[in-house]
Structure formats: C-alpha cells, structure tokens
C-alpha cells in the first residue's frame, strides 16, 4: 500500500554502528512508496511530546533493538511506558512489528522480549503485527559488504523481507526466529578472537578479560 506511514524506531542504546541500525537500513530498502520516519531512541534520548504525537499518526511502528538480559533494554522500556500512557484512553489505529537481535547465535532466545513487546501493544491498545528474532547479531555489521540475502545474510534477509511485506499489507502473523547461515562453532570462535583483540586495543592484556573484582 502506498502512502502508508511507517515509523522505524531504533532502540539500540548506541547512536551509531548499531546492529539495530543495520537491520533497519536493510528493512528500509524493502519499502518503496511508503512514508518512512525514523526515530532514534538511543540511551541518552528522552522521548518528547512531539515524538509521541508523531508516533500516534503512524500506520505502522517497527521497533528494532538488541536483546538485553533476555528482555528490552531499560532505556527503551522507559520510552515504551511513556508511549503506553500517551496512547492509553485513545489508542491510535496502528500495528506494531518488532525485530530483536541477540548476540547469542539462536534467534529463538529473543522470544521473551518479543512476547513483552506484544504485551506492550495490548496494554497500549494497539494491534500486534509480528516479531522477528535474529541471532548472531554480533556478526551482522561485519557483513556490510555481503549482499542482502546472500551467504550468512540469507535467512536474516529473508525474514526482514517477509516482515516488510507483512507490514505493508497490514498482516498479523506469527513470530519468526532465525540465525545467520554460518556455523555456530565458528561464530563462537570469531567472537572470542574479537574480544581478545578489542581488549588489547584498549591497552590491556588478554588475561584482563578474566578480571575478578
């Protein structure tokens, strides 16, 4: 549907280079005639009345955020409570979709966070569309040079494309969980090497990763 108003809400605490931003960039490429508005809800952000008003006139809200301690990052949760309070009583006619990325390899570990987003939609009086859980989030941003839908990005791209289609058609359907098309043991090894490298870049030693206070 053209002229559909879609809000892409980036709930990563990080202002730049976030996996959620990477996911939303890809998702944006699957929309065509729709009117896209981006809402960066990062850690330092406090939601404004203007943003609440702008969200209420959308047809579709798409939240993207990282899995934090099995749930929604607290800074985003604070905004969700404010949005619920704003919507409550006179809820707008809109539908909510969410994409949660996890550092763990298995996308299904995002299930609790997506269930909470669905519960938030109900509490806010708006309709739930669909949730997508993507595992292996730690490697996605390193795949910028891999074409959408190719190699390790095959399944993540497939589900993002499906979400874009469902959102455009206003369809409510079940959650989908995926992992990158990449061996889990290699992801685990690569993550470990990455932490060893990053701590050395900070002038510390690899053994410092194991510091106990």
């Amino acid at each position: 549907m053209s002229n559909l108003k879609i809000a892409l809400i980036n709930g990563s605490p990080k202002g730049k280079s976030s996996v959620s931003g990477f996911i939303l960039d890809e998702l944006k490429s699957y929309f065509d005639q729709q009117i896209i508005t981006e809402f960066p809800f990062h850690a330092s952000h406090s939601i404004t009345t203007a943003e609440l008003e702008a969200l209420a006139v959308q047809d579709i809200l798409v939240f993207a955020f990282p899995l934090y301690v099995d749930g929604i990052p607290s800074h985003l949760l604070r905004s969700l409570v404010k949005i619920e309070n704003y919507f409550n009583g006179d809820p707008p006619e809109l539908k909510v979709y969410a994409v949660v990325n996890a550092g763990f390899f298995e996308g299904k570990q995002t299930k609790n966070a997506l269930d909470m987003m669905r519960r938030w939609s109900e509490a806010s009086g708006v309709k739930w569309g669909q949730g997508i859980g993507i595992g292996g989030g730690g490697m996605l941003t390193s795949l910028r040079n891999v074409q959408n839908g190719k190699g390790p990005r095959k399944d993540p791209s497939l589900v993002l494309r499906a979400l874009a289609k469902n959102a455009t058609e206003g369809k409510s359907t079940g959650n989908i969980f995926v992992s990158p098309n990449f061996p889990r043991f290699l992801y685990k090894i690569a993550a470990e090497l990455g932490w060893r490298l990053r701590i050395r870049q900070n002038g510390l030693h690899q053994k410092d990763l194991f510091t106990q206070k």
């Binding site: 934090y68 099995d70 607290s74 106990q212």
Partner: protein
C-alpha cells in the same frame, strides 16, 4: 550475602522489607544511568561498568552474594524500567566468552558463583499472559546468570509481600 534489588518507594520498602543483617539493598535513588552498550565492562574496565554513578559496581556486588531477590512491578510481563536498568548494568558479572549449555549459546561465568534467585512481581490487573512471560523470563535470566530459581511470586500490590520476603 543476600542482595535485594527493588523498585519500591521508601514507604513501600518499610512495609515490605524487614531489616536484616548481611543484606545489600539496591533501590532507586533517581541517579541511575542506562547501559550504553559499549561493552566497556568487559574490555575497558573488566568487571566494572564505565559509568560511575551509584550503580557502577553491580557485577562485583553480585559476585559477593549467594541469594538474589528481585522485587519489581510487572511491566509487560517483565521487570520495571528501574529493576531492568540495574540488571542491564550488571553484565560485568558474566564473561564475554560464550559457552554452549543445553544446546544453546550463553555467556560463561566470570566468578565461580551460583546464585539462588527469588522474584516477586506486583501489579494490579496481572494477566495469565503476564505471569507466563514473567516465569519464562526469570528462567532465562537464571540460565544466563548461572542461577537457580527458588520462587517467582505474583501479587496485585507490593504491600502483599510484607513479611514474606525472607
């Protein structure tokens, strides 16, 4: 040591918690900052959050406790923003490296410590769905924090837990 993290007001705290020895209580003093996703607690100041507010040593505090008690308003089937904020700021308790546990990827332990976890959720109008999500969430938290769930209880208001939190 017993660690209690709660979102109660000072008045509710008096009604609900009995003063006990060897107990650390973390409550909302209004100063907590959100986690900024920098992983500094793993690779810049390992074991400690880089944000130096009153909640920057949560990983170390957890490492000294054997019993974790969470008292929280049930919010969409999960924790309230404050309690969740404290948990988000506690990830230095675990190690960045992964292990495979029950066929799933999780973080390995930083400390050789296993927590007993009790969670007390309160909220008016709790639904069956809230309870189901909350129980599933606490189970997942326990796996990731290498803990054991002792109990998960629900009440319509915090006061109903008065004298029951041991």
């Amino acid at each position: 040591m017993k660690l209690i993290i709660h979102d109660l007001t000072p008045e509710q705290e008096i009604e609900v918690l009995l003063p006990k020895q060897d107990t650390c209580v973390i409550s909302d003093d209004g100063s907590i900052k959100p986690c900024i996703g920098c992983f500094g607690c793993w690779i810049k100041t390992p074991g400690q959050c880089v944000i130096r507010d009153n909640y920057g040593n949560m990983g170390e505090t957890l490492s000294k406790c054997d019993e974790l008690i969470l008292i929280s308003r049930c919010t969409y089937g999960g924790f309230s923003p404050f309690v969740k904020n404290v948990l988000d700021r506690s990830i230095s308790y675990i190690h960045p490296f992964f292990i495979i546990k029950n066929g799933e990827m999780h973080h390995r332990l930083r400390y050789n410590r296993h927590l007993n976890m009790s969670v007390y959720f309160y909220s008016s109008g709790l639904t069956e769905q809230d309870r189901t999500i909350a129980k599933s969430l606490v189970k997942a938290n326990a796996i990731n924090l290498h803990g054991i769930v002792t109990e998960v209880l629900f009440e319509e208001n915090a006061k109903a837990f008065g004298g029951r939190i041991k």
